[in-house]
Amino acid sequence: MKKIGAIILSTVLTAVLAAGCGSNNTESSGNSANGGNSAGDTIKIGADLELTGGQASFGDSASKGAKLAVQQINDAGGVLGKKLELVVADNASKSEEATQAAQKLITDDKVVTIIGASTSTNTLGIVPVVTEKQIPLVAVGATNPKVTVDERTSKVNEWVFRAAFIDPFQGQVMANFATNSLKAKTAVIYTDTSSDYSKGLQKFFEETFKKNGGQILSQESYQQKDSDFKAVLTRIKASNPDVIYLPGYYEEVGKILKQAREMGITVPFLGGDGWDSPQLAEIAGAAALDNTFMSNHYSPEDTAPEVTSFVDAYKAANGGAVPDGMAALGYDAVKLVADAISRAGAADAAKIKDALAATKDLQLATGKITLNETHDPVKAAVVLKFVGGKQTFETKVNP
């Protein structure tokens, strides 16, 4: 029985693979037949995404979101009187394959702009290609600051933009949420010192919270794979803060919340999108998650009209599936590009780049976006509250 199952599975997989290759071939062959199609009746946008490999779920969501945006734009008459065409290339969740996929999109498919990838590491594989070939890139899910700003020279990467807000921004959002919504005056920050992500969030939370007139009672730290947090939690309990900021990943966060609640620490805990995993509730238990809040890019439960219309359209196009954050970002990336092309007045790479840099107050699914001088979006983040172990929409915080 098992063998038959395996044979069927492998046949299906082969068929799917063949189909994938086939469609790829037709796309590129159609292009070479028409020759210089970008000057014709369609504008080609490339998508360099994780269709296979470890982060395939990110790439899958992002491409579904992007396709929805293209369809909506074309149904409304396209951009500059031309239809958009999305050419999707698989980067297999690997940085070096992302580089190759970007080269293929630019050289073979002659796209005017690329969107992708959905992680910082894979996006960093694309950055040198678009810089050399002078094609604008709008990263979908990359949140690391060094995607848009070169680490060594501290110069902004001229051709690189992104749809997601950067890591440190979440720290700022949660500090404002703590001051304004929770009326917190004192806070303790408990950071994962083995993660750059956590340290970035910590730095910006601290700055903003102090600027708001709050007081940081102490800075504590742990490392990934630690399991006993009682010593530090006893110390935190003694200092009795209004809130505790915990910008880590779900595994340690789960253990910390569990131990803290057992010890009778009842104050709110705040965190970032590193908490976003079903495992958090499994490790911490639903009860320990009461009175905790996390920041994230978007929430499908948001009642703002732009979010509900996106969620409804996505559900209709994808058999009722609820769009996750990456789907919303893929959708937004395409809309950012379409807006830039229409303002540029021509499907010309250099003009699109300048128009992207000037993006201002553009209403998208994840909020109203303005790109700042480092090409990073300034937009609202959502704060989610845990109720019975489940994320529920709490509020939207503007930068």
């Binding site: 010192t193 102490s218 504590e220 730290s221 742990y222 794979k225 630690d226 399991s227 006993d228 009682k230 010593a231 530090v232 006893t234 110390r235 003694a238 595994e251 789960g254 253990k255 569990k258 131990q259 057992e262 010890m263 009778g264 495992q279 499994e282 490790i283 911490a284 238990g285």
Partner: protein, 303 residues
């Protein structure tokens, strides 16, 4: 207040240290007998924890009372891990018992990786939640603000009971006497008619069973188990064993408790990022002044 805070942190430290001590015992016993640092020991701890997790899930869903679930999964996990320990010894260490010390050490590291990544392959790299076998209760001590939870009490009691059983086995049973004899001089023991192979197997079985007990307790206390969970506690327990004097059973207990309390007190003073640094500095200091560890005997190498 200050005193209460200190005592509270001491209690936290003792419960961390008890787990180190239970794992350290396995290192120390194996080292005492065949002079092998069994690096796979931390991973036997991991396997024990997972077996505890699965049996606890199964038993709890079968509707058994919590105390029974705990005792049965503890004993089941200890038995399976003891068998695993014997298997590892027979397959990996016995064939190279006559070769160099370094070959055995490398083999131990190999077995450690084998267990870790088989775990990743079979169970997946994600952490899994450990079911709440017993509902934790908080107790206030003598009307002060000092808290002890039922789990901390259970850890300490389990550790002490296992330690007493271990002392009894080593001091008064035939196997224990054989273990001490083999540890003293393997060749002479063989000549006296002691079955050396069986004695070594027994040592691995006892050490692995203790690691499994620590694994189940660890899972219950921290509610999360994953295939690489044995790496850090294994390393810390090794440090505890060396600190107490490797080869000495009371040394493992004292070393574990000392390491746990030092770590906790460092964190409690607000230097949480210095925790490991200071703990290892203590180790270095003790080894400078007492190279054989706190309870270690100065044994001259036989030439």
């Amino acid at each position: 207040m200050a005193m209460e805070y200190f005592i509270q942190q001491l209690i936290n430290g003792i419960s961390v240290g008890s787990i180190y001590a239970l794992i350290a015992l396995g290192y120390t016993m194996v080292y005492g007998i065949i002079k092998l640092i069994n690096f796979a020991h931390g991973d036997v701890f991991m396997v024990g924890s997972f077996i505890g997790l699965f049996s606890a899930r199964y038993l709890a869903s079968a509707g058994l009372p919590p105390v029974l679930v705990l005792i049965i999964s503890l004993i089941f996990s200890m038995t399976v891990s003891a068998l695993l320990g014997i298997t590892i010894e027979r397959l990996a260490y016995k064939p190279i018992r006559k070769s160099t010390r370094i070959a055995a050490l490398i083999t131990a590291i190999g077995v450690s990786f084998l267990l870790e990544y088989t775990g990743v392959l079979v169970l997946g790299p994600q952490a899994q939640g450990f079911p709440d076998i017993m509902v934790k209760k908080q107790y206030q001590l003598f009307g002060t603000s000092i808290q002890v939870d039922s789990n901390q009490v259970m850890i300490l009691i389990t550790t002490i009971i296992l330690m007493i059983i271990l002392q009894y086995i080593v001091r008064y049973t035939k196997t224990g006497k054989a273990m001490r004899a083999v540890s003293f001089d393997m060749e002479a023991a063989r000549l006296m008619g002691i079955n050396v192979d069986r004695t070594i197997s027994a040592t691995f079985a006892i050490g692995s069973a203790l690691a499994a007990a620590a694994g189940v307790i660890f899972g219950m206390t921290y509610n999360s188990v994953d295939p690489l969970m044995g790496v850090m506690p294994g390393l810390k327990a090794f440090v505890a064993a060396v600190l107490g004097g490797i080869g000495s059973i009371p040394g493992a207990l004292v070393g574990g408790l000392l390491l746990g309390t030092v770590e906790t007190e460092i964190s409690s003073m607000g230097y949480s990022s210095w925790r490991d640094g200071v703990a290892f500095a203590v180790l270095i200091l003790i080894l400078i002044f007492k190279p054989s560890g706190l309870f270690g005997k100065n044994v001259r190498e036989k030439v």
